[in-house]
Symmetry: C2
Subunit: 62 residues, 2 copies
């Protein structure tokens, strides 16, 4: 029940990237996220902020 929604900052605005994120792994290449259905998404970004209260992950481009 703690899955979160990931957004990426573009021109100061939050753009939806992925919903229902259960797992996030970060490397030099980018960020891999896995959602509650096991689907994966990898994007060239890094974690800027996340709030477990708001269930919100904010990424920024690498």
């Amino acid at each position: 029940m703690c899955e979160s929604t990931a957004y990426i900052l573009k021109d100061g605005k939050e753009e939806l990237v992925f919903e229902g994120v259960d797992l996030l792994e970060s490397s030099d290449d980018g960020v891999k996220m896995v959602d509650i259905f096991g689907e994966e998404k990898i994007i060239r970004a890094k974690v800027k902020r996340f709030s477990l209260l708001d269930h919100k992950i904010i990424l920024e481009p690498n």
Copy 2:
């Protein structure tokens, strides 16, 4: 109810850093975490992984 526990990887082992984390903010300098009581902790590290299922944040030294 989604607050998580943060660990840092040291010599491949997870060392407890901070419990009850509600908010995490990452910058070039390190990671700032705020717990459910509003207490803050800043450490020189970056986010390696987090699991919203396990309520676990894994950091690695910068």
